[in-house]
């Protein structure tokens, strides 16, 4: 298989899951495709190195997360001491009684809180890995995750039993 075919095969094999993570992060199909494409473009540049990595998929997911962070210009803010607010603060601009699509509820969160949730509960990253990714403490990860979950809990509690929202 040529190197080009190898890369194409990797994109076709991993692209859907990567795109879904991007969709959860961005909340928008076009932005998710752009983020996925930008991620694969970076992988393309270093394809030989990436494919030799212990886990090319995990490496690519990390690039996706970092690309998302960069695009939201979160690097600097994520390095600041975390300002942790109370857990019962409602999502800004959302009626707390409204039933929302999960993507909309996620999109209403701060991007860094969204990333914590996606890293922890979609990618199954550990608290330590998520902390490393964001450059914050494990305590901050737990606090952010708890706070963000508390904020959007009213909007997702029935989605499992109700099935996929239209």
């Amino acid at each position: 298989m040529s190197t080009e075919d190898d890369f194409a095969s990797f994109v076709h094999g991993t692209g859907a899951q990567l795109y879904r993570a991007a969709l959860l992060l961005t909340g928008d199909h076009h932005q998710a495709e752009d983020l996925t494409q930008a991620t694969f473009a970076k992988v393309f540049v270093s394809w030989r190195r990436v494919r030799r990595a212990d886990n090319p998929v995990a490496y690519t997911r990390t690039i996706l997360m970092n690309t998302f962070l960069s695009s939201k210009r979160l690097r600097r803010s994520s390095e600041l001491t975390i300002d942790v607010g109370p857990d019962d603060v409602p999502v800004p601009g959302i009626d707390p009684d409204a039933r929302l699509d999960l993507l909309d509820a996620l999109a209403a969160l701060r991007p860094d809180d969204r990333l914590v949730l996606v890293a922890r509960y979609w990618e199954d990253r550990s608290v330590a890995e998520t902390a490393h990714l964001l450059g914050i403490s494990e305590t901050a990860v737990r606090t952010r995750a708890r706070r963000a979950l508390a904020r959007i809990r009213p909007h997702f509690t029935d989605t499992v039993t109700e099935g996929t929202p239209s």
Binding site: A8, A16, Q37, T39, E79, W122, S126, R153, T164
Partner: protein, 282 residues
């Protein structure tokens, strides 16, 4: 990635909700692949230019010289151009501060600064297979001088020359490999040059981050982080400034600066030791 940690019922439900919500979402992978390949080729090309410039800078640009650079190189591991599948070579010819790059003897890029201050060359480079003409700015005499030096660029990809409005010069330090290295007992770092950062693990599993950024961001970075008055540590041949969250902000070199940031379990002393051990990569 380590094994998933135990989740409480809320977390498990949320995790299941995420999966349920997006399980049927399907992207246009053909389009993504085409776009990623196109963008990736462009990025690779620019890196090749940067590597060529760096190599030329090592030799010196005082006269005319020719360097042959394997274009398959993309960082320390030497990635091969995924599109070509062969090891092609780029020749760099320098006249003063201007470089002409040829691939298989075909001019593919012209980069650099000025010829007697009469023109400037756009840093935005046209890939070899792209018919976009090269951008130039300057007076006619300067452009004519350039064409005397490199006659083949007069008919660049059949599209001729265009006038540029702006010259953009990327910092030399922002290249495809980490600009710093660490050789401190008990510490190891994994570098992500594509994201301009590294993740370091130290004694007893403590963590720290190393990030490099354009010098233009330094003032605002320090302003945003808040500087601890009078607290500095030796770092990269200069002084590292300690900020309010114990991040250490290093001196500027080659258009970039490096920060060392606290992670899980680190202390200011460990961070200072890590920052003090950093050295500029060759």
């Amino acid at each position: 990635m380590t094994a998933p940690e135990f989740l409480d019922s809320d977390e498990e439900q949320f995790s299941a909700s995420l999966r349920t919500r997006v399980q049927d979402e399907t992207p246009d992978l053909t389009s993504i692949l085409a776009g990623a390949t196109r963008d990736g080729e462009r990025r690779r090309f620019r890196r090749r230019i940067a590597a060529s410039l760096a190599a030329a800078a090592c030799v010196g640009l005082g006269g005319t010289l020719a360097l042959v650079i394997p274009t398959s190189s993309d960082g320390p591991s030497g990635d091969q151009d995924v599109t070509s599948g062969v090891e092609d070579r780029t020749t760099v010819e320098a006249h003063g501060e201007v470089l002409l790059l040829r691939q298989d003897n075909k001019p593919i890029a012209l980069v650099g600064g000025t010829v007697e201050q009469k023109f400037q060359v756009l840093q935005e480079i046209s890939p070899a297979n792209d018919a976009t003409p090269l951008g130039l700015s300057g007076d006619p005499e300067g452009v004519a001088q350039l064409q005397d030096l490199f006659p083949e660029i007069a008919d660049w990809n059949g599209a001729g020359l265009i006038v540029a409005e702006k010259v953009v010069t990327p910092p030399q330090g922002l290249r495809d490999k980490a600009p710093v290295s660490v050789d401190l007992e008990g510490w190891s770092c994994q570098w992500f040059p594509v994201d301009d950062k590294g993740a370091c693990t130290g004694p007893n599993g403590v963590a720290a981050g190393v990030v490099w950024r354009p010098r233009s961001d330094r003032a605002s970075f320090l302003d945003k982080q808040g500087v601890v008055e009078g607290e500095t540590v030796p770092m990269l041949g200069g002084e590292g400034i300690v900020t309010s969250d114990t991040t250490i902000v290093g001196p500027v070199r080659k258009g970039i600066f490096v920060t060392v940031q606290p992670g899980q379990g680190t202390t200011p002393e460990l961070l200072a030791a890590l920052a003090g051990d950093l050295s500029w990569a060759r």
